[in-house]
C-alpha cells in the first residue's frame, strides 16, 4: 500500500487536468465532484498510508518513482520520502484541504468561474504535496514554485478588479525575493556537498562542516531567506495582508493552513543545517518574535475581518519561527498543525459571515450578529478560544510547548519567552475584539440577512471546530526525526510560569470584553490623544512597512523604468536592425532588372575569383 504514495499528488493533478482541459464546460455539480472528490480520495489514500506506515514502525519510507534528470554528477530523482514530518504535513494538506474544498463548493456556488477556481485549487494541493513529499530539494523547489504560482493565480482570481491583480503581483514579487535567495542556497549546497537529496545532504553537511562554519551559516541564511518570504515573516511579510484579495477559501487554504507554513516545513526539514549554524538559528527565533509582536499590534487596529485574521496568521507563524529558533522543532510543527485547524476554521467562519452579509468585510458594520449568524458565532467562539490558547484547547498545548521551548534557550530564553507571552496577550485582545465587535453589541447594519450555507459549508466547520478543540491531544510521530538536539519533552518549570501562561490570555479576553463587550472602557477616550491617533495610524498601516518599501524599492524602480523608457539596451539591437536595413537598401540598388548588368556582375565576379586564385 505504501507504494501507492505516488497517487497522493497525482489525484489532485488529474483533477486539475480534467478541469482545466474542459475549460468550464462541465456542469457545476460535476466540477464540485471532481474538484473536491480528487482531494477527498487523496485524503483517503493518505489516511491508509499513514495507518500502514505507523503500523510498520519504520523510521522512513522511500518510493522511487523516476529519475527526473541526470546530468554529470547532478541527478534529481522524483522520489517520495515519507517520515513523521512529511506524514503530518501530508495529512494536514489533504485533510484540511478536503474540508476547505468541500466548503468552497458552497461558497463559490454563484461564481461564474467555478471550474477555474477548482482547477487552481487542485493544482495547488498537488504542488503542495510535491513540496512535502519530495526527497530532493529540487522536487521540493518545484512544489515551492508551484504553490507560489497557484497563490498568485488565486489571489488574482477576481482579476477584473485591478486591485486584486496588484495584490497578486505583490505577493508573487515579494515571495520571489525569498525564492531567489533559496535558489542560491540550493546552488551553494550542491556546489559544496554535491547532492541535493535532502537526507544525503544533511548527513554530508554533518560530517563535512564544522558547527558555525561559514558555509553552514551562509546556506542556512539563504534557506531562511526563502522561508521568510514564503511564510510572510519580517522583512518580507507585507504581501500576506494584501493577499486577502482572493476568495476566502483561498485565504483559509493557502494563506493560513498550508502554503504559508511551507517555510516552517523547510526549516524543520533542514533543521540539521540550522543546528550547525547556531547564530542563524537564534536569528530565526528573533525574526519570529519580532514578527509576532509587530503583527499582533497591527491586528489590534485593523477593521477588515480578513485582514485581522491575516495579521494573526503572520503572528502565529511568528510563533512557529520562534519555536524553530528555540530548537523546539516538534513544538513548531505541532503548532503548525493546530494552527491549520483553528485558522482554517476562523477563515471559513469569516467566509460565512462575509457571504451572509453580502461581502461586507468591515467588522464595525456588523455587530450583534450572534442570533443572526448562530453557526458562525460558535465557529468563531471555538476558533478564537483555540487561537488565544485558552486552557485545554488545541492552541494551548502547542503554544505552551513553543514558549517553554523558548524559555530553555541559553541566555536570551527569558526575553524570548516574555515576548511570546506579550504576543499571546495581544493575540487574545485582537481575537476577542473581533469576536465581540462582530457578534455582540449593537447592530451596525445588515439586519435582514440570513446565514447562508448548506451541509457542505457547515460540515467542514463542525469538523474543524472539533479539531480546534481537541487536536491538542494528538501525538505527532516526530520524535525520531528531531531526536538529536531536541530540548526534551518533559519541561520542568515552576507553576508560576505555567500560571502566567494560562492567565495572560484570559486577561486579554477580559480586557477585550471590557472594551468591546460591555463597553465599560471607551476606545474613543484613548483615541482622543493625538499620540494614540498617530500610533493607531502607524499600526494600522502595518508599521509603515509598505510605505518604506514603496520608497526604497518600488519608487526607485519606477523611476528607473521611467528614465529608461526608451530602453538603453534596446538601442544596440535597434542599431543592428538599422544596419541590416541600410545593407538591404544598398543591395536593392544592384537589382536593376537589366540582364546585361547581371551578366556583367557574374563575369566580373568570376574574373575576380580567378585572379585571386592565380595570385595566391
Amino acid at each position: 500500500m505504501l507504494d501507492y504514495i505516488w497517487l497522493l499528488p497525482t489525484l489532485p493533478l488529474l483533477g486539475f487536468l480534467i478541469l482545466i482541459l474542459t475549460a468550464g464546460n462541465l456542469p457545476k455539480r460535476a466540477v464540485a465532484i471532481i474538484g473536491a472528490g480528487s482531494i477527498g480520495l487523496s485524503f483517503l489514500v493518505a489516511l491508509i498510508i499513514a495507518l500502514r506506515f505507523l503500523g510498520s514502525g519504520e523510521e522512513y519510507f522511500v518510493k522511487e518513482a523516476w529519475v527526473w534528470m541526470a546530468v554529470g554528477g547532478f541527478d534529481a530523482s522524483f522520489n517520495f520520502y515519507l517520515d513523521g514530518l512529511s506524514l503530518t504535513m501530508m495529512l494536514i494538506i489533504t485533510g484540511i484541504g478536503f474540508l476547505i474544498h468541500l466548503y468552497a463548493t458552497g461558497y463559490m456556488a454563484d461564481d461564474p468561474d467555478y471550474s477555474r477556481f477548482f482547477s487552481y485549487m487542485n493544482l495547488f494541493v498537488a504542488a503542495m504535496l510535491m513540496l512535502v513529499l519530495g526527497d530532493n530539494l529540487v522536487v521540493l523547489y518545484l512544489g515551492w514554485e508551484g504553490v507560489g504560482l497557484c497563490s498568485y493565480l488565486l489571489i488574482g482570481f477576481w482579476y477584473t478588479n485591478p486591485e486584486n491583480g496588484y495584490a497578486a503581483r505583490k505577493a508573487f514579487v515579494v515571495t520571489r525575493v525569498g525564492d531567489t535567495s533559496m535558489a542560491i542556497g540550493l546552488f551553494l549546497l550542491f556546489a559544496s556537498l554535491g547532492t541535493l537529496n535532502i537526507q544525503d545532504m544533511l548527513h554530508a553537511a554533518e560530517t563535512q562542516w564544522a558547527v558555525g562554519s561559514g558555509l553552514a551559516v551562509a546556506v542556512s541564511l539563504l534557506l531562511l531567506g526563502g522561508a521568510v518570504g514564503k511564510s510572510a515573516q519580517l522583512p518580507l511579510q507585507t504581501w500576506l495582508p494584501d493577499a486577502m484579495a482572493g476568495p476566502t477559501p483561498i485565504s483559509a487554504l493557502i494563506h493560513a493552513a498550508t502554503m504559508v507554513t511551507a517555510g516552517v516545513y523547510l526549516i524543520a526539514r533542514t533543521h540539521t543545517l540550522f543546528e550547525m549554524a547556531p547564530s542563524v538559528q537564534i536569528l530565526v527565533a528573533w525574526i519570529g518574535l519580532i514578527t509576532l509582536l509587530m503583527a499582533g499590534f497591527t491586528a489590534l487596529t485593523q477593521t477588515d475581518i480578513k485582514r485581522i485574521l491575516a495579521y494573526s496568521t503572520v503572528s502565529q507563524i511568528g510563533y512557529m519561527f520562534l519555536g524553530l529558533g528555540a530548537g523546539a522543532w516538534s513544538a513548531a510543527i505541532f503548532h503548525l498543525m493546530t494552527h491549520a485547524f483553528f485558522k482554517a476554521l476562523l477563515f471559513l467562519a469569516a467566509g460565512t459571515v462575509i457571504l451572509s452579509l453580502h461581502h461586507e468585510q468591515n467588522i464595525f458594520n456588523m455587530g450583534g450578529k450572534r442570533k443572526q449568524l448562530p453557526f458562525s458565532f460558535y465557529s468563531f467562539l471555538f476558533g478564537s478560544l483555540a487561537l488565544t490558547a485558552f486552557p485545554y484547547t488545541s492552541g494551548y498545548f502547542s503554544k505552551d510547548e513553543i514558549l517553554l521551548g523558548a524559555l530553555e534557550v541559553d541566555g536570551v530564553g527569558l526575553w524570548l519567552w516574555l515576548g511570546g507571552v506579550i504576543g499571546a496577550f495581544l493575540t487574545s485582545i485582537y481575537t476577542f475584539r473581533l469576536f465581540f465587535v462582530v457578534f455582540f453589541g449593537e447592530s451596525g447594519g445588515h439586519d435582514k440577512e440570513k446565514e447562508v450555507g448548506g451541509w457542505n459549508m457547515s460540515g467542514p466547520l463542525v469538523v474543524l471546530m472539533v479539531g480546534s478543540l481537541f487536536a491538542g491531544y494528538m501525538n505527532l510521530p516526530l520524535d525520531i526525526i528531531f531526536s538529536q538536539g531536541e530540548s526534551h519533552e518533559e519541561h520542568h518549570v515552576s507553576p508560576l510560569i505555567h500560571g502566567i501562561m494560562i492567565v495572560v490570555p484570559l486577561l486579554g479576553i477580559g480586557i477585550a470584553y471590557l472594551f468591546y463587550g460591555t463597553r465599560t472602557f471607551s476606545i474613543a477616550r484613548i483615541m482622543a490623544s493625538p499620540f494614540a491617533q498617530s500610533l493607531h495610524k502607524f499600526w494600522f498601516n502595518g508599521w509603515g512597512m509598505d510605505t518604506l518599501y514603496n520608497r526604497l524599492f518600488v519608487n526607485p524602480f519606477l523611476w528607473l523604468a521611467r528614465i529608461n523608457k526608451n530602453d538603453i539596451v534596446d538601442k544596440f539591437y535597434c542599431f543592428l536592425i538599422e544596419l541590416s536595413s541600410i545593407a538591404n537598401r544598398m543591395m536593392v540598388k544592384t537589382q536593376t532588372g537589366y540582364l546585361r548588368w547581371y551578366t556583367l556582375t557574374v563575369a566580373a565576379g568570376l574574373v575576380f575569383v580567378i585572379t585571386l586564385g592565380a595570385l595566391l
Binding site: V588, Q591, T592, G593, Y594, L595, T599, A603
Partner: protein, 102 residues
C-alpha cells in the same frame, strides 16, 4: 606531324569566349545575345577539344558532344522564348524588359 601547341588553341578559345561575352553584354537585340551565347559555348567546347588532344584523352571530346547537344537544346528553348517574347511585347530589345528590378 607537327601538332599545334596547346597555348594557341587555348588563346583562340579565350578570344572567342571574350568576344561572346562582350556580345552578351553589349547587344540589345536578344537574338544576337543568343548567338553570342552560342559563341561562348563553342569557345569552351574548343578548349575541351584542345585539352583532350593534348593529353590524348577521350573525355574532352565526349564533353564537346555534350556541349553541342546542350547548345542545340538551349537554342530550341531560347528561340521559342524569343518568339513568345516578341508576340507579347512586340520587341526584341532586352532593355525594354527590365520590370523585375528591386
Amino acid at each position: 606531324m607537327e601538332s599545334i601547341p596547346i597555348e594557341h588553341g587555348l588563346i583562340l578559345a579565350s578570344i572567342l569566349f571574350t568576344l561572346g561575352l562582350i556580345g552578351v553584354l553589349t547587344r540589345r537585340n536578344i537574338v544576337f545575345v543568343l548567338m553570342s551565347l552560342e559563341i561562348m559555348l563553342n569557345a569552351s567546347g574548343l578548349a575541351f577539344i584542345v585539352a583532350s588532344a593534348r593529353w590524348e584523352h577521350a573525355e574532352g571530346q565526349v564533353m564537346f558532344l555534350m556541349i553541342l547537344t546542350l547548345a542545340a537544346a538551349e537554342v530550341a528553348v531560347g528561340l521559342g522564348l524569343i518568339i513568345q517574347m516578341y508576340r507579347r511585347f512586340q520587341t526584341v530589345d532586352i532593355n525594354v524588359l527590365s520590370e523585375m528590378k528591386g
